[in-house]
């Protein structure tokens, strides 16, 4: 699992039936790399979230027939920008 921050909602009207009507969010990792995650919890822009990848993402979506490789598993109560970025440095300030 990984920590991402929600950037915004993503609208994709034209999609495969296997994505159903699930909500999608643009999320970024601590390096600013953008990805798209399926969101069964209702996260808002700015929220720090736990994301689940690979085939586990499909079970996290609540139905293994959903074709996703990244699903939001929960919203983190307390997390800071500083703590997030410190995963990159040799001397994390935790």
């Amino acid at each position: 699992m990984n920590i991402h921050r929600v950037t915004r909602d993503l609208v994709a009207t034209h999609r495969t039936p296997s994505l159903a009507d699930k909500s999608l969010r643009v999320v970024e990792d601590h390096r600013g790399q953008l990805e798209v995650a399926l969101d069964p919890v209702g996260a808002k822009p700015g929220d720090f979230v736990i994301t689940i990848g690979t085939s586990a993402a499909r079970y996290a979506a609540g139905d293994p027939r959903i074709t996703t490789d990244l699903t939001i598993g929960g919203i983190i109560d307390h997390w800071s920008e500083e703590r997030w970025r410190s995963t990159d440095s040799a001397n994390p300030t935790l």
Partner: protein
Amino acid sequence: MKIFRVEGTLVATARIGGLESHRLLVVQERSGGKQVAVDPVGCKPGDWVIACGSSAARDAAGSKEYPSDLTIVGIIDYWDDELEERAAVSARNGARSTGDDARR
């Protein structure tokens, strides 16, 4: 799922039997890297799309046996890459500038 821009169709006449039945597209990541994706959705060149990997790529292409590791699952309605870049940068600066501009 990752965000890509569709560059165009890829023609590969001699291909394994399992790869038949869907178009192959050359897609480009925002960072510039090119990959090949299976397209069951029907995209045009220039479309911004989302594509998934892992076992979902096989299922999204139609069956568990389909040998794909990157399949397009949707077309993004609105995506302005420059706007996204600027929004991300301003969100980052607004939150806190740590001085480590090591992203990409």
